[in-house]
Amino acid sequence: MEIPYNVELREDTGLYNSKLGIWLFLASEIMLFGGLFSAYILLRTGAPVWPPIGADGHSVLHMLKETVPHATFNTIVLIGSSVTMVMAWVSLKQKELSKYKMYMGITIACACIFLIVKYFEYSHKIHEGFVPAHDTYMALYFTLTGLHGLHIIGGIIVLAYFWGPGFKMWGLEPERFTNRIEVVGLYWHFVDLVWIFLFPVLYLLN
């Protein structure tokens, strides 16, 4: 049985179903990250000093300044991946398959670079004793960036599928495949959008 409204638009919504589905999913994601941002505001406004001083008498503030270049680099990488993601979709619209493969490959590579930089950042902080239990800021930092990192890993899995085995759908249903790339692109841009707010909140405004 064929699933309806994969390509053709519904009369009532004016959208194909997966596009409506992804926007509803993104709405729930906004609330998920919104809840954590709300916790951040509550804990920050209630703290006498920010970032708080841990039980060992140290604050993470000096280390945050050291990691600003890494976080700035990661921001540029993620913004770049958003551009290549949208260009992958444009390439499919123009039926330029080699370009699609190239842009999708760059997007996946950017996502991997982001995670590698994050790994070094985490290692450095943990090595210096700045673990989630150190203070409220570190707990929020690992929760927010960890959840965002999980979204990056999820994105890499889906993007790699559409770059590799999932690409065979193009031969059978090109329009449906193009819509799938648009939908995964919306998810990816949302992940970028969350980082745009995390970057100043966690690294710069302390």
Partner: protein, 105 residues
């Protein structure tokens, strides 16, 4: 979409990429500048979040095509933003409540 439309889109995406890079540079530069008002960093927070909001708008409007979407998506997002604002407002209500308790006792 025609080839002409697509080339217009590509040029637009390239411009947005440049604007986002400029925005990122401004965010970092602004964090080293002194916007403090009476020993409070509220000014720096305002400037940092303002730039983040502009960058967020550029991504949502152009890459996510929210500048030309169907009505139902705007309604979904409006409802989400309403509840998000409520969620972000809760900490403020908490603080106000604590302040009024301190006055009462």
């Amino acid at each position: 979409m025609s080839v002409k439309d697509m080339s217009h889109h590509i040029a637009n995406y390239r411009n947005i990429f440049i604007y986002l890079l400029i925005g990122t540079a401004l965010t970092v530069i602004a964090s080293y500048m002194d916007f403090n008002v009476q020993d409070s960093i509220a000014g720096a927070i305002f400037v940092g979040l303002l730039i983040a909001c502009i960058k967020g708008y550029l991504v949502a409007a152009n890459f996510m095509h929210l500048n030309s979407e169907k009505k139902i998506i705007y309604w979904i997002l409006l409802l989400t933003v309403f509840f998000l604002a409520l969620l972000l407002f809760i900490p403020l209500l908490w603080d106000l409540n604590n302040m009024s308790n301190q006055i009462n006792y």
